[in-house]
């Protein structure tokens, strides 16, 4: 069983050209600007919760940039930027963060649970690891339907301990399902370090047990992430089955806007990783190869931020969800008992007024 942990000598077809690298750089910058804006909105009490991708932009977007438009991306908490890159409109991204009436999921999910059917991006439930077998089943269906689309299944280091991970990789190995597992090892699962998640040397070792070749890649090297996933996609499309790609990176901020990471990790560790920032690394490379001009990054940042701010402004004004959506989409049709429950509720609202929002805040 091969267990290749190197990414050198990638076939030419899988490497990202200069234009592609520059484009990727802009997507990474956009995601960082967006996270900063979202954190501001969260601090101002405008949105409830933000799980940022800061430090992970190279891993998430580098990996996702290898997918073809027909491929699917199964996400966890932090892959929203990949949806955006692949076609999720910025307005829908921000509507989802506001959970307002423009959100395609009707404000039903917490923030950071994006979906975009047009680019084959279902939302994550919240329950860690559950998307992994879903992606495997969907990959199976893809082949059964005679399509060559591949399913890229993203998840974190923490998720490798979930039942979904074990079931998903095992089934995919047995079925030679056309999928690529992308493990974003960002060092932490809330406050639990990757080293406390497994006794294996690397999460890539876990591929061996399932008969799945694995690659371990510097997750802060965005083009390398692209290459590794591109290789997995080639294998999957050729009918050779799944690949596990482990991207070693670092979650620079807290687990979410409510987490205080100083309680469980050292400043030195964070500083060490700050020096390896994926955006800075790609910027240096683009500058050196003449694909980015001095000072262009700052210009891009202000341009991207202005775009984001305009959309935020628009979404601030959007209506909240209508009350009747409380009982919709539970089934294809609203059943009689739910109709009655809603009518009774509506009657109380008419007579006594509407309930007021509570002041509870999400802790994690």
């Amino acid at each position: 069983m091969s267990h290749d942990r190197s990414t050198t000598a990638a076939p030419a077809a899988t490497t990202l050209d200069a234009a592609g690298r520059r484009e990727l750089f802009v997507h990474m910058l956009r995601l960082r600007c967006l996270d900063e804006r979202m954190l501001k909105l969260q601090r101002a009490g405008r949105i409830g919760f933000v799980g940022t991708a800061r430090g992970l932009e190279g891993a998430i977007l580098g990996a996702a940039s290898a997918l073809a438009p027909r491929d699917w991306l199964w996400s966890g908490l932090r892959e929203g930027g990949a949806a955006l890159m692949r076609g999720l409109p910025l307005a829908e991204y921000i509507a989802q963060m506001y959970c307002n009436a423009n959100d395609t999921a009707k404000g039903r999910q917490m923030c950071n649970h994006f979906q975009h059917k047009g680019s084959h991006y279902p939302s994550w439930s919240s329950v860690i690891g559950t998307q992994i077998p879903h992606g495997v089943g969907a990959a199976f269906a893809e082949r059964a339907r005679g399509s060559d689309a591949v399913h890229a299944i993203f998840f974190g280091d923490g998720a490798t301990s979930s039942n979904g991970f074990h079931a998903g990789l095992n089934f995919a190995g047995v079925w030679k399902a056309p999928c690529v597992f992308v493990c974003i090892d960002n060092g932490w699962a809330i406050s639990v370090a990757s080293s406390a998640q497994t006794a294996a040397r690397s999460f890539a070792d876990k591929g061996i047990a399932y008969g799945i070749p694995a690659l371990q890649v510097d997750g802060n090297d965005a083009p390398a992430c692209h290459e590794a996933v591109a290789q997995g996609l080639l294998r999957a499309r050729a009918g050779e089955g799944p690949t596990l790609v482990v991207l070693e990176t670092y979650r620079m901020l807290g687990h979410s806007s409510s987490d205080d990471p100083t309680k469980y990790r050292s400043d030195e560790e964070v500083e060490r990783w700050a020096k390896r920032d994926p955006i800075d690394a790609l910027e240096r490379e683009l500058l050196a190869s003449g694909n980015l001009a001095e000072g262009e990054r700052a210009e891009l940042v202000s341009q991207l931020t202005a775009e984001i701010d305009a959309v935020i402004h628009e979404q601030e004004a959007a209506a909240p969800m209508a009350l009747r959506t409380l009982v919709e989409d539970v089934y294809a049709e609203v059943p009689q008992h739910l109709r009655l429950q809603y009518n009774h509720f509506h009657d109380v609202v008419q007579r006594r007024g509407e309930a007021l929002p509570g002041d509870g805040a999400f802790p994690l």
């Binding site: 329950v127 406050s191 469980y264 429950q341 007579r351 999400f362």
Partner: protein, 324 residues
């Protein structure tokens, strides 16, 4: 006596139990240096060491499954599951293993363990950080299901649960973690499981509730009082095994009953209370039993305050039953 919030009382209860008995240990996700997502386990690792309070890999199935084994072999595990919603990945270990071990071994092996878990809505946590799944577990013979609603009960019931010879699912109403405060005695004391608590007495309508709904009940009762309706509030606090005699006694006292919970209505715990009264005290009833519950839908996100029973809806039911 110190005034503590409910979550501080849980923390105090854990420390008290761990000081009293070396075999008590606490583990789960993020319970160590972080001290728990809600800070229920703050300071445990520093006081008791990482042998007795530690983080596990991200697997609820693993957490509960290993707790069963520890309990079978002389330890007193107190496992934390981050949210009640994430007990479902451990459902099999809870329902098929922990709950049935005593029965299937003819009493030779037992699982004296506690699973602590925050439950209910009120924090804008959406579908998977808000559920009240108590009915899944109260349908499980062999398990005990406990729900405190005051700091005093949180500590006393937790200590009783840890000392109990059977597995206990300890549901902590997260909406009350910091919103209620109360006097909590220092040191060890316990509150007996399977005893309900009379929150306040009133002559007209008995209102059964538990968890975060107790505070909603109190607000509704204040408003009812202003309209001349006396509400007798009962906090069930242990759902399984239920204090059935206590329920019947309180139901008979007023002959008019409202049952309140935030979980969905269909096959919810209120159905059991209602059936119990219908079977054994129907002749005392002067009005149909009313239920105020969450909708039979998944838990919403932005609309959670409409989903959760609020004092308006409770008052509406109280008046309906009182004036029947």
């Amino acid at each position: 006596m110190p005034e503590l919030t409910l979550v501080q009382a849980v923390n105090d209860g854990l420390k008290t139990a761990m000081r009293a008995d070396d075999s008590v240990l606490v583990f789960g996700e993020d319970v160590g240096p972080k001290g728990g997502v809600f800070l229920a386990t703050e300071g445990l690792t520093s006081e008791f060491g990482k042998e007795r309070c530690f983080d596990t890999p991200l697997s609820e199935d693993g957490i509960v499954g290993t707790a069963v084994g520890m309990a079978m072999n002389g330890l007193r595990p107190v496992a934390e599951i981050l949210f009640q919603d994430f007990n479902f990945p451990a459902f099999d270990q809870i329902v098929s293993e922990a709950a049935k071990l005593r029965y299937r071994s003819g009493g030779q092996y037992t699982a004296p363990m506690v699973i602590r878990t925050p439950f209910g809505g009120g924090i804008r946590g959406g579908l998977y950080h808000s559920q009240s799944g108590e009915a899944y577990f109260t349908h499980t013979a062999g398990l005990k299901v406990v729900v405190p609603s005051t700091p005093y009960d949180a500590k006393g019931l937790l200590i009783a649960s840890i000392n109990d010879p059977d597995p206990v699912l300890f549901l902590e109403p997260k909406a009350l973690y910091r919103s209620v405060k109360g006097e909590v005695p220092e040191g060890e004391y316990s509150v007996d499981l399977s005893t309900l608590r009379s929150v306040r007495s009133g002559d007209d309508v008995t209102l059964f509730c538990y968890g975060a709904m107790v505070t909603v009940a109190e607000k509704a009762a204040d408003q009812a009082q202003a309209k001349g309706i006396g509400v007798n509030i009962v906090d069930l606090r242990t759902l399984l095994p239920l204090d059935e005699e206590g329920v019947l006694e309180h139901a008979k006292r007023t002959g008019r009953v409202v049952v309140l919970h935030e979980a969905p209505r269909f096959c919810g715990f209120g159905a059991e209370i209602s059936a119990l009264i219908a079977e054994r005290a129907i002749e005392y009833m002067e009005a149909p039993i009313a239920r105020v519950t969450g909708f039979d839908t998944p838990f919403p996100n932005t609309l959670e305050h409409h989903y959760l029973p609020d004092p308006r809806r409770v008052l509406d039911a109280i008046e309906h039953v009182a004036n029947y």
